[in-house]
């Protein structure tokens, strides 16, 4: 157990590791996690399956075997592949993407705390504010990556399998290809911000517990409760503070002209949740026992 020392190991005299190195290390670590790989894999496959399913349904409908409802959906989708990313982004925002954001947040602090690895970072030392920033960055980048994967794969799958070179809007006209992509990018950005908001709240819970499952359960439970509350008209006074209540307005990207009020409102709400989530997380991690 002796080591020949050829050159001094310590050549730096700083009190903090370079932040770029910490961020790279965190991302590499998160992306190599088996559950992350599985989740991203599912996100990449789902749009292809959805595209094939729609294509089959369309073909069946064109052969005259489907009912009127199938035919109307089919007529909307057929040759209108760029509607697929919109459809899938909105669908995955309902549950899948928030769940992934919450999962990454849960692993970031509660999970690391559970294995004891968080202590290793605190002892290095990584300051607590810095630690939270690094963790929040990792969760944010992965959430963005997840949304981008859904968007890109479904654009490709939609164009390849369903065809078309423009987007038929809910207003009845067809947007040119470039503008369609712009609308999809806008929707992806809006969805990402919403996932970040959910993940920020999850990170606050994650800072307060050593059990990642608690984080996941409470975040998903919260989303379900919010959705239910949002569907009770008698509680309409409560709706403006519900994050999920603003998600419906994101579908406005396929209207022409595009109403922006709902989108701006949804972003503002998300920013409120982000600020509250990160503030609580910081307050908790500052005094958390390592």
């Amino acid at each position: 157990m002796t080591v020949a020392v050829d050159a001094p190991i310590v050549t730096e005299q700083r009190t903090k590791a370079p932040v770029g190195r910490l961020l790279r290390s965190e991302l590499r670590f998160m992306i190599r996690r088996p559950r992350t790989l599985v989740a991203l894999g599912v996100l990449a496959v789902a749009p292809v399956i959805a595209a094939i399913a729609m294509s089959v349904a369309t073909t069946t409908a064109q052969n005259g075997n489907g009912g009127p409802a199938v035919e109307s959906v089919a007529s909307l989708v057929s040759g209108n592949g760029l509607i697929l990313p919109v459809f899938l982004l909105l669908l995955s925002l309902a549950m899948l993407l928030p769940m992934l954001g919450a999962m990454w947040s849960a692993d970031a602090l509660a999970g690391e705390s559970q294995t004891g690895a968080l202590r290793g970072l605190l002892l290095a030392p990584v300051g607590r504010l810095r630690l939270l920033a690094v963790k929040a960055f990792g969760v944010a980048v992965l959430s963005l990556l997840a949304v981008v994967i859904v968007a890109v794969v479904s654009i490709v799958a939609g164009l390849a399998i369903l065809g078309g070179d423009g987007m038929l809007t809910m207003s009845g006209n067809v947007l040119p290809f470039g503008e369609s992509l712009g609308r999809i990018a806008l929707l992806a950005a809006l969805v990402t911000v919403q996932v970040w908001a959910v993940a920020a709240v999850a990170l606050a819970i994650s800072a307060a517990t050593d059990h990642p499952l608690v984080v996941l359960a409470s975040t998903l439970g919260g989303i379900i409760v919010f959705t239910i509350l949002g569907n009770i008209p008698a509680l309409d006074w409560l709706h403006p503070v519900l994050l999920t209540d603003a998600w419906e307005s994101l579908g406005d990207v396929i209207r022409d002209p595009m109403p922006t009020d709902g989108m701006v409102n949804s972003v503002l709400r998300a920013v409120c949740y982000l600020v509250i989530g990160y503030s609580l997380a910081l307050a908790r991690i500052s005094t958390k026992d390592g």
Binding site: M1, V5, I9, E12, S25, F29, R32, T115, L122, P125
Partner: protein, 335 residues
């Protein structure tokens, strides 16, 4: 050597720079449970200090407060001359620690786990990370298993990983909380060898353990914790000697010896194997000279040394009875 009650003022007046760690009046309360109370711990630079105590005596809590992982309810902590937890950025890069068992990710290999720890290490230049990780793995004998997943490591290998991360770069102060947990006898010897290497290199080491033999074999200093308080601390040899200042004389002339000693105002009594002499008021050479002058045939004279185990038992038991202080005060020795 200090005993917890009056000593702090004296040592505080000394040069604080000569202490690798210092706590004053440290207290930690979890809810209604007092985990640590009135802990005044001094870790001299260059010492190997064994922190002894039964399970739940506050060893780990004290260490976590030393390292700034836990905020004390009251009291102050200095680590390498920096106030904790504010000075963590200055103190902790020079401190290697293994606290509450190793904490690594099961899906990464041993090497990748250490790479991750190394990335957060302020004193490591990025280009030196792979070399530092390789050396640390070699030092704890994990080079062969470095690329296997941590999940498949045995308990002993996991413990070695914790040691490797504590020794990733040369440190001024190494804190090991129960380092031999889960290690086989060979592993235990290796940990001892690592501690001896560190000591030889001038590194200060703090080892917590409930294994007395472990501490007796490796430490220069001891601090005994009991129910959240330090009941004794100081150099190991002094503590052991102070524990019993007796001399055991083997002689066939027991009666003559006892009489001769008592005539010279030296307390002595018959013991199963000869004469037991109390050294509280005299020294060993005086005793021998007195016996020789009295014509007593002396076969053997030896210092009666308390084992650490006995000392420890007495300290923790007397503290239990609440009558501990008078007992403990006998360890307060001339500096």
């Amino acid at each position: 050597m200090t005993i917890e009650s009056e000593a702090p003022a004296a040592s505080a007046a000394g040069a604080p720079a000569r202490l690798a760690a210092r706590t004053r009046n440290l207290r930690k309360v979890y809810g209604k449970t007092v985990a640590v109370d009135h802990v005044d711990l001094d870790v001299p630079v260059g010492a190997v200090l064994g922190m002894l105590g039964p399970n739940g005596s506050g060893k780990t809590t004290t260490i976590r407060m030393l390292l700034g992982l836990v905020l004390p309810t009251a009291g102050s902590v200095e680590l390498l001359g920096h106030k904790m937890p504010e000075g963590a950025g200055w103190a902790l890069p020079e401190v290697g620690a293994l606290v509450e068992g190793p904490g690594f990710h099961p899906f990464l290999s041993g090497r990748d786990n250490l790479m991750r720890v190394a990335a957060a290490e302020p004193r490591l230049a990025s280009k030196d990370i792979p070399r530092a990780v390789g050396q640390a793995l070699e030092r704890v004998g994990l080079s062969a298993a470095a690329n296997r997943r941590y999940k498949g490591y045995s308990l002993g290998m996991k413990q070695r990983m914790g040691l490797a991360s504590a020794l990733l770069i040369p440190r001024r102060f190494v804190i090991l909380d129960e380092p031999t947990n889960g290690l086989d006898p060979a592993g235990t010897r290796e940990v001892r060898a690592v501690i001896a290497d560190l000591h030889a290199a001038g590194t200060t080491v703090l080892v917590s353990s409930h294994l007395l033999a472990e501490v007796e074999a490796t430490c220069t200093h001891v601090a005994v914790l009991h129910q959240g308080s330090v009941v004794a601390q100081g150099e190991l040899t002094e503590l052991l000697e102070a524990g019993d200042s007796g001399l055991l004389v083997s002689t066939p002339d027991v009666k003559v010896a006892v009489d001769a000693l008592r005539d010279n105002r030296i307390p002595a009594r018959e013991a199963p194997s000869g004469v037991h002499v109390d050294l509280a008021v005299t020294t060993a050479p005086d005793v021998v000279a007195t016996l020789v002058r009295a014509g007593v045939a002396v076969h053997e004279v030896r210092r009666q040394r308390t084992g650490l185990e006995e000392l420890f038992a007495r300290l923790t038991e007397s503290a239990d009875q609440g009558a501990g202080l008078s007992e403990v005060d006998t360890f307060e020795e001339a500096r």
